[in-house]
């Protein structure tokens, strides 16, 4: 199997660490100079960025949280003037205040190169036809894979989302060999093929790369057996760069994080303490090459562990295991990040007081289902069925407009939802079992 950027991907650890130190020092000097948020943070804690002497010194710098990014909405975290930014994307979380990220021309080039590494590791070559079924919009997925595929020299079919039967027709007629989609959509495609009598085995499809939501092993198996492809895993997030942070090689023993561009750490999400020795914790990333949107110790919220042992593929870059849930209570529903607090605020606005509610996430035939149960109270319960139905529809509509995915709202009898301290118990995620 090919390696796109062997000079970096197969670097000796000693050389890599020198490069990381150089780039970390330069990044710290740069954010101190250009990003008010970081300058204030360093000044308050009397951290002198130029004194960073080793990679391990990174632990003395505070984390950057998603909350920090929201507070600096929209451009507060940019390290270059806007006129140097050639692209703006925003994170998939459809909250009122998303996270806005920017790219300079060099960032786009670096991003392209990183995604090309991921796709090459997945087995994509210049002979492939790559069908991208992500939305070409604020979401980073479509553009990232688009650039990566073009850099490799593959042919891109930018179908965008939706119109499943047309997607299948294109897949047949254009002889698509690589599918880029959410795992859920890959299964939707397989189901629709079944229904309209298309045999996936007769298609040219051979490789799939996924994004938007985690690819569970069960889903991977289902996608592989139903579509007859190799389903590969990769990792990325808009706040860091988009796709292109890490990708799986042919040995499928975790995703190689491109450490010349990012420093990964694992922390205990409760204490913030750095964890070593392959223990599971929250992934924290520092960017080393980003010009427009550098991030220092960004808390991804994703739980995983790192493996530094050698890999048979020849890459020397550390491997991260499949993400095992979120460190906060964020739910990923059909690829969209949903926070219980968003639903709570909608309900609170309607009820007027703190609502007693519960969020149930479930999966049926590989489709994510979201239900919101809340206790009936004065003003939410109507004797007339028609009015009741209209009321629930109104709530559903409001929730959908805020979180970006639909949820079924159900009214339950008062005092039937167990009371819990804090957030625990509010969310029941049946998909995990």
């Amino acid at each position: 199997m090919n390696i796109w950027d062997a000079k970096y991907e197969c670097m000796l650890r000693e050389e890599l660490e020198q490069l990381q130190l150089e780039r970390l020092q330069a990044t710290l000097n740069r954010v101190y100079k250009n990003v008010t948020f970081y300058r204030k943070m360093f000044d308050e804690l009397e951290i002198v960025p130029e004194n960073m002497q080793s990679l391990s010194g990174l632990v003395n710098i505070p984390f950057t949280s998603k909350e920090n990014l929201r507070m600096n909405y929209p451009y507060g975290m940019f390290a270059v003037p806007l006129r140097e930014v050639v692209r703006v994307h925003s994170s998939s979380g459809t909250t009122e205040k998303p996270v806005v990220v920017g790219y300079t021309r060099n960032d786009i080039k670096a991003w392209t190169n990183l995604v090309a590494r991921v796709m090459t590791a997945a087995g994509v070559t210049r002979d492939d036809m790559v069908q991208i079924t992500f939305s070409y919009g604020l979401y980073t997925g479509a553009f990232g894979f688009h650039y990566g595929a073009e850099a490799i020299g593959a042919s891109v079919i930018p179908t965008g989302t939706g119109n499943t039967e047309k997607q299948i027709m294109i897949m047949q007629d254009y002889r698509t060999s690589v599918l880029i989609s959410t795992p859920t959509y890959a299964i939707t495609l397989a189901e629709r093929m079944d229904r309209i009598g298309v045999d996936p085995k007769k298609l040219s499809l051979r490789v799939g790369l996924f994004g938007g939501e985690p690819l569970s092993e069960a889903m991977r198996e289902e996608i592989e057996s139903r579509l007859g492809i190799t389903a590969t895993d990769n990792y990325g997030l808009s706040e860091i760069i988009g796709p292109g942070v890490a990708g799986e090689c042919e040995y499928r023993c975790g995703m190689h994080i491109f450490e010349d561009a990012f420093i990964p750490e694992i922390i205990d999400p409760k204490t913030g303490e750095q964890l070593s020795g392959g223990r599971v914790g929250e992934l924290v990333l520092t960017t080393l090459k980003k010009e427009a949107f550098p991030m220092i110790r960004y808390r991804t919220g994703d739980m995983t562990s790192l493996e530094y042992g050698p890999c048979r593929c020849g890459r020397t870059m550390v491997r991260m295991n499949k993400t095992a849930g979120r460190s906060d209570d964020m739910l990923i529903i059909r690829g969209v990040n949903v926070f219980p607090s968003q639903i709570e605020s909608v309900l609170a606005a309607i009820v007027g007081t703190a609502p007693h509610y519960q969020i149930v996430a479930d999966r049926k035939d590989a489709h994510d289902l979201l239900e919101v149960h809340f206790e009936a109270a004065e003003g939410t319960f109507f004797d007339e069925m028609k009015r009741q139905k209209a009321f629930l529809e109104m709530v559903e509509k409001k929730i959908r407009s805020v979180i970006g995915v639909s949820a079924a709202v159900k009214l339950v009898a008062p005092n039937t939802i167990a009371k819990h301290e804090g957030k625990a118990g509010v969310v029941i995620d049946r998909r995990k079992t």
């Binding site: 020198q18 130190l21 150089e22 003037p81």
Partner: protein, 247 residues
């Protein structure tokens, strides 16, 4: 080849280099970009132990050299071409070149080999060959620069530290000098750490570069990336001068 980690260099109380880390791979041309007083020359002088670092490490092919004296560093294959050429002006071209091989002579190397290397310098810079008997102080600026580079080559360096080789030269001569720099890397595999005010020319031949500001590295990128970097363009390539962004 060269690996620098966290060096701090002072001129008296002046903190000239603040935790600078950088590296040069074998056969690589690396440019140091920055305005006056950013610390570019100090890095070269620190590597060659002219102004040794207060702390930090400098490794040459894995060997710690930051505690060595200048002559020991030169013996290990590091030659510096200082800013302003600094040739021995009353001496002839030939004598200047031979002085460049001083340490080799002292080490008992055969004169025949040294003469062969002198011929190689003449092949590289034919104008020096034509003027080999001339008093070097009477050479033109470009020829003096050629001589300074030629003299440094006489020590058979593996790593060449070049300080402002294009300074004060006509564009045609700048081209000539940089042609030779590229040839040295290509033909001899010499690694080159290059300081140059003329960032555009430097980044054209360099593989990578570091941007320095007030003794700190603020950017490490490939030369192509640096050329495309707006900060670098504005500050060091003389672009957009009329539209400097107000932060």
């Amino acid at each position: 080849m060269l690996k620098i980690k966290n060096i701090n260099t002072y001129y008296g109380k002046l903190h000239a280099l603040r935790n600078v880390s950088l590296h040069v791979n074998a056969g690589e041309i690396v440019a140091l970009i920055g305005s006056n007083g950013a610390g570019k020359t100090t890095i070269l002088n620190t590597v060659s132990a002219v102004t040794p670092p207060e702390n930090g490490e400098i490794h040459l092919d894995g060997m710690l050299i930051s505690r060595l004296s200048t002559d020991a560093v030169v013996k290990l294959g590091v030659s510096q071409v200082p800013e302003g050429r600094q040739i021995f002006k009353p001496l002839s071209v030939e004598d200047n070149l031979e002085l460049g091989a001083y340490l080799r002579c002292e080490a008992g190397e055969r004169r025949k080999d040294i003469m062969k290397d002198k011929d190689a310098v003449y092949a590289l810079f034919p104008r020096l060959g034509e003027r080999h008997k001339q008093i070097s102080g009477t050479l033109s600026g470009g020829e003096q620069q050629m001589l300074a580079i030629g003299r440094s080559l006489m020590a058979k360096p593996r790593l060449l530290l070049l300080d402002e080789p294009a300074m004060g030269l006509a564009p045609l001569l700048v081209q000539e000098i940089f042609r030779v720099i590229e040839e040295l890397r290509r033909e001899r595999g010499t690694s080159i750490l290059l300081v140059e005010q003329n960032a555009r020319v430097a980044l054209k031949v360099a593989d990578r570069g570091y941007v320095l500001e007030t003794g700190k590295v603020i950017l490490e990128e490939t030369a192509a990336e640096l050329l495309a970097n707006k900060d670098v363009q504005r500050a060091y390539l003389g672009k957009d001068r009329k539209q400097i962004w107000e932060r």
